[in-house]
Symmetry: C2
Subunit: 188 residues, 2 copies
DNA sequence: CTTATTCTGGAACGATTATTCAAATAAGAG
DNA sequence: CTCTTATTTGAATAATCGTTCCAGAATAAG
């Protein structure tokens, strides 16, 4: 059997992710994707189907990486409140590079069931992880006991979106950190 | 002099605003605009120049209306903190309909000087108005004195973006209100 | 009425879109 | 080397894009 050289699909997908992050779905052309991914045009269609399927895979990949990083920061420190702070700080530091989650949410709202499915799955996991640490922080007296954990988790995720929009709009690192600190303040 | 009937430019512009709000710039075609605005294709180009100029006018119009509404809510109540709450609540209630400010920020970042100019001008006015009421609320003891008014104003505007992304993603009215309440909590 | 002006809508333009067919190229296995 | 398969690339398709030209319909002032 002959086994010719095959291109790195993961590398190609990550290049697609970055292109979609920067320009969104509509403003990204197949030509841009091919160039960024460093593969031939036909390989793109053979391997990933079409532009929309590639986009879905990009969103899925991005969501996985991002959710994993969120949770790693969240669970890193011993104290729950420190984990929550670490997670928020990480988003503040990362907010200068465009988020594909916010991008796809803004571009398609909740009108694309297949996209919604992907984001719902990751969102559920992330919300649950955050909620657990909130409960833990409340037990430690670091988050006000009267707050409902689900509400706080939703608030933090909404804060992520706000930070990312601010970052996209040109806010500097120090300003983003100040915003993150203020959000944490709401939990006392 | 003969003076033929002229179409209502304000109505047409508002229709353009709504179309751009829903679909963004890239995904809005001239055909969609013509249909939504209820005018002939040539009238669009004669009156508004081209698609980009129309978009700039739409962003400008939207920003003006939105800034005015923000400030009206902000200055309505006698107590400053109530004005701030009213402004945030208004955004929470409005967050289901897509915001052209967030949309243009996300679609173009801060790389379009002519767009940036428009939003900077309105942003400056809004930030100043918010800051004034924050100072007032601090004097009344309703906002923590140690917070810097500029930071709080930036935080509130970032919260607007977060709420709007959440609304676009399908959050319901009650959930948005809860998020707004939590944001206000950060100011105590 | 006439006449001046505006608006409309079909036709066309060139450019770009996503996608596919088919042929050429490249590279590893035997 | 040959053979097999992956990948690339040129060409073509059909659709749509923003935009302009142009002819005719509509409308209001004189």
């Amino acid at each position: 059997m002959a086994r010719p050289k095959t291109f790195d699909k993961d590398r190609a997908l990550e290049a697609a992710v970055n292109t979609f992050r920067k320009h969104g779905y509509e403003a990204t052309s197949a030509e841009m994707l091919v160039r960024a991914m460093g593969i031939g045009r036909q390989s793109l269609y053979d391997t990933f189907g079409d532009k929309w399927q590639l986009y879905r895979m990009a969103v899925h990949h991005y969501s996985t990486v991002q959710t994993t990083a969120h949770i790693a920061a969240l669970r890193g420190p011993a104290r729950a409140i420190d984990g929550i702070k670490a997670m928020v700080d990480r988003v503040a530091q990362d907010a200068k590079s465009p988020c594909l989650g916010v991008g796809s949410t803004w571009e398609f709202g909740n009108e694309r069931p297949d996209l919604e499915e992907i984001k719902e799955a990751h969102g559920r996991v992330l919300r649950a992880a955050i909620r657990d640490r909130i409960v833990e922080a409340q037990a430690a007296g670091d988050i006000a006991a009267e707050l409902r954990p689900d509400d706080v988790a939703a608030f933090l995720i909404t804060t992520f979106a706000g930070l990312r929009v601010a970052g996209r709009g040109g806010a500097n690192a120090a300003g983003l950190q100040t915003l993150a600190d203020l959000a944490i303040r709401a939990l006392r």
